[in-house]
């Protein structure tokens, strides 16, 4: 069967919002990936007297520092580019965990049903009660060498529950359909039925949800870094840039605007893309 319905592609291409989302996402990914080539300076080097005035105020945009300097005297443009890498890596890694766990649990629970379903879904309910901000902050205090991995492992491990529920609901529908019954009647093994017949029909659902999960994860990473959990100084992430700009916000609003605009644009981009994909694949929904 054809994974990508040509009618869906046509619907997507007619959707201006979706296209805008795609462009924003592509630009963000390309800029972050090419940060080492594009960044004019080392993002962690303070340039001291060249970037801080005699009053200690970070300089504004110049030819050498296109977005000016931050409170420590580092190149703001280089930091926002490198910061994007961190934010996107965390978001993609956490989303990967979400997709893996959510699909597995949802698929198994929905297809087998019965006691297994009850046990798994009550587990999901329990997990949904964990406040992830607090959990990440607590874990970060406990582990010996806190860092990025804590953030995305915990974000991923606590955020797959809603995907699992939706995958389970869709699987419940699919397992009653004729082509699944036919496959089973023909003697296909359970793994084969799941992987060859059920999973491909879940693909669009998963892609759509995963896209908006990426947006959520970018926000979550920024919020955590803003609270001082997550990246270790001097590594830049959009959230840590926001945090470091806080005391200077009223004096040098640029320092808050730059990472703030980056976060808003990227999140909006992923959300537009996610909604566009949903409309394209599932016009009725």
């Amino acid at each position: 069967m054809d994974l990508v319905d040509p009618r869906a592609v046509a619907r997507f291409r007619r959707n201006r919002g979706a296209l805008a989302g795609l462009v924003i996402v592509l630009v963000a990914v390309v800029l972050s990936t090419l940060a080492p080539l594009l960044a004019p300076h080392n993002p962690d080097t303070p340039y001291k007297n060249r970037t801080l005035t005699t009053q200690g105020v970070p300089i504004g945009p110049t030819r050498e520092f296109p977005l000016g300097a931050d409170a420590v005297g580092r190149c703001e443009l280089s930091r926002v580019l490198y910061g994007g890498r961190v934010s996107l890596i965390v978001a993609f890694a956490a989303t990967g965990i979400v997709v893996l766990l959510g699909t597995l649990v949802g698929l198994v629970a929905g297809y087998f049903g019965g006691t297994l379903d009850t046990v798994l879904m009550r587990g999901v309910d329990t997990l949904m009660t964990f406040p992830f901000m607090l959990t990440v902050m607590a874990l970060n205090r406990v582990v010996a060498r806190p860092g990025l991995w804590v953030v995305f492992v915990v974000l991923g491990a606590l955020s797959w529950t809603s995907l699992a529920r939706q995958v389970r609901a869709k699987t419940l529908q699919l397992r009653e359909q004729e082509f699944v019954l036919a496959a089973r009647a023909l003697g296909a093994s359970t793994p084969r039925v799941l992987l060859v017949h059920v999973l491909p029909n879940l693909a669009t659902l998963i892609i759509v949800i995963a896209t908006s999960v990426v947006a959520q994860m970018i926000l979550a990473e920024s919020a955590l870094s803003m609270l001082g959990v997550g990246v270790v100084p001097p590594t830049a992430s959009w959230g840590s840039m926001l945090q470091e700009s806080e005391s200077l916000t009223r004096a040098v609003p640029r320092l808050t605007l730059v990472p703030g605009v980056a976060i808003v644009l990227t999140v909006v981009g992923f959300n537009l893309l996610g909604e566009g994909l949903r409309d394209a694949f599932d016009p009725k929904g």
Binding site: P46, G56, A71, V232, P233, P234, E244, T249
Partner: protein, 577 residues
């Protein structure tokens, strides 16, 4: 035609919006009336973001509580307001030191009275000190300052009910006998731990309530104490000094967020916006307002900021690595990144502390080449192989210092990993052996004497399994012996020279990289006169006076404009308030 009408409407709207957006507090709302001399009267209002837990002089130890405690309580002697590090008479009008520095005889003023009108006698001091030093009465954090009073150990350990070293020949004479000479003893007596408290008030209220409701012999009395909100003080009519305080009352608001303090100051609801209330952005903003600038005061404070290196942990057990760090730190860049709200330090003793030298021999300095040479001497010409933890407290300043120093040290081949910890965790870790290899530390003085900078942080007596005050775990027998000799040296000049020699040892052994001296930046309303932050008591308002506040004409005109609203722009099209 319609388009012109629409355009003018847009312009009018934009003008109104602009007027509404303009920062309303570029000028003080009130000015002084210009009275010639100190006036008595008025209420001084200020705020802190912390709370006053207790103003019981035996217990109060944090910055915020100490301001309130100073207002309520009086000692035999006091620290001079500024310019000299000496102690000055307070409840004692004079004293004699005899027996080679072992016996102090104090003569109380006839005018010494408590806030309830009763005369202060020498027996009140005996009772107050025995209360403070008896661990079964109140657990005073300051008791150790008085360990040389004869009989201290017996009282502490419950073998005696009274302090043997105190005698009272008559109501106005107090004799203190020490078990050994101590040249810092007068300084210790000016600490509020040694304040006199009226027995009848303490016994009537109980120790706990005395801390918030009791009277002392200080310049002010508590009129109303609203916990976590504000404390209202009024002048103590029985205070020994007829000249002071000059204000009738003080309103001390507590637990007020920093920026809120600043906003309330600008709108004329507080008389003082101090170092703790001015955020970086507020400081930069007010520095640009020409009308405010004359009232912004920059006062160097006797506080040293430093990075300590744990001499028991690798790689800082090697003196060359420690010396390399002292050469690697670009102190001017650090001060610049903090808007010069601090100034570079190259040695331990801050300006204004006896023994400080502007041209300090062997001063620490920024010299990357020398730093690399020391790294090579240490055996790491290509850098130290492992990552080292650098601890900083939470907050913007720590993060700025930490990241700048991280970059400085990377340049000499020392990779550091920044670890941030909250206040209690941070200080707990600093005082535990083998825990913090390198960390931000410093010293805010208790009293203006070099001993106070040298002993707590570097004497090996202050190394303990928990809560060591010697964060670098620095041990040097020659240093200890020198400092112990200095404490009992009767000749002032020789004593100071000994502390300078001790400072030289610290420069050679480099347990700390000295980085900055603090500067107090405060701004007061134009009608506040003779305002200087006290070197020990910070924002204690004992010496200032208030000129008659008069509504500033600019403020009056702006208020008129606000009342008229958009109409004001018809009368005043330029929009200048």
């Amino acid at each position: 035609m319609p388009s012109i009408r629409r355009a003018s409407a847009v312009v009018a709207l934009a003008l109104t919006a602009l007027a509404a957006c303009r920062d309303p507090h570029t000028h003080p709302r009130y000015e002084g009336a210009g009275l010639p001399g100190p006036r008595r009267g008025g209420t001084f209002r200020f705020a802190m973001d912390g709370d006053v837990g207790t103003a019981d002089p035996a217990l109060s130890a944090d910055t915020t509580s100490m301001i309130a405690t100073r207002m309520l309580h009086e000692c035999l002697v006091d620290y001079a307001a500024r310019g000299t590090a000496d102690v000055v008479p307070a409840l004692a009008e004079r004293w004699e030191v005899t027996d080679e520095g072992r016996t102090y005889t104090f003569h109380l003023r006839p005018s010494a009275r408590f806030g309830n009108g009763r005369a202060v006698t020498s027996r009140d001091f005996v009772w107050s000190w025995e209360r403070m030093l008896n661990p079964r009465r109140v657990p005073s954090p300051g008791a150790d300052n008085y360990r040389l009073i004869d009989g201290y150990d017996d009282l502490r350990e419950g073998r005696a009910q009274h302090l043997r070293g105190l005698t009272t020949p008559d109501d106005r004479t107090l004799v203190v006998r020490l078990s050994g000479p101590d040249r810092t003893f007068l300084h210790a007596l000016a600490l509020r731990f040694a304040a006199v408290v009226p027995r009848e008030s303490v016994e009537a209220l109980g120790d706990a309530r005395y801390g918030t409701e009791g009277v002392g012999a200080g310049p002010f009395l508590v009129e109303h104490w609203e916990p976590g909100f504000r404390i209202t003080f009024r002048r103590n009519p029985y205070y020994w000094d007829p000249e002071r305080p000059r204000v009738d009352g003080v309103i001390f608001e507590v637990s007020i967020a920093r920026h809120l303090q600043f906003m309330r100051f600008l709108s004329g609801e507080l008389e003082l916006a101090h170092n703790y209330s001015l955020s970086t952005a507020d400081y930069l903003w007010i520095g640009r307002q020409t009308a405010w600038r004359p009232y912004l005061q920059r006062t160097p404070m006797a506080t040293i900021g430093a990075f300590m290196m744990n001499t028991e942990m690798r790689p800082f057990d090697n003196v060359h690595v420690r010396r390399a760090v002292t050469f690697a730190i670009d102190r001017d860049a650090l001060c610049r990144a903090r808007n010069y709200r601090i100034q570079p330090a190259w040695g331990l003793l801050p300006p204004s502390i006896p023994g400080h030298r502007d041209a300090l021999p062997n001063a620490q300095r920024f010299d990357p080449a020398e730093a690399r040479r020391e790294m090579a001497l240490a055996g790491y010409p290509n850098g130290y192989p492992d990552e080292v933890e650098l601890w900083i407290g939470e907050g913007e300043a720590g993060l700025v210092y930490g990241q700048l120093i991280q970059a400085d040290l990377a340049r000499i081949g020392l990779r550091v990993r920044i670890k941030q910890a909250s206040g209690a965790v941070y200080y707990g870790a600093l005082g535990r052996p083998g825990t913090v290899p390198m960390g931000f530390t410093g010293w805010q003085m208790d009293y203006p004497d070099p001993a106070n900078f040298i002993e707590p942080s570097f004497h090996s007596r202050n190394i303990q399994p928990e809560n060591s005050a010697n964060h670098a775990f620095y041990r040097n027998a020659a240093f200890d012996a020198l400092v112990d000799r200095a404490r009992v040296e009767p000749d002032r000049a020789r004593r100071i020279a000994m502390y300078q020699e001790a400072e030289q040892m610290l420069l050679r052994d480099a347990p700390w990289a000295f980085v900055y001296n603090a500067v107090d930046l405060s701004v007061v309303q134009p009608y506040v006169k003779n305002w200087v932050p006290h070197p020990v008591w910070n924002y204690y308002p004992g010496d200032l006076w208030l000129d008659l506040p008069t509504r500033a004409w600019r403020a009056a005109r702006r208020d008129l404009a606000a009342a008229l609203g958009p109409l004001a722009h018809l009368a005043n099209p330029g929009g200048a308030p």
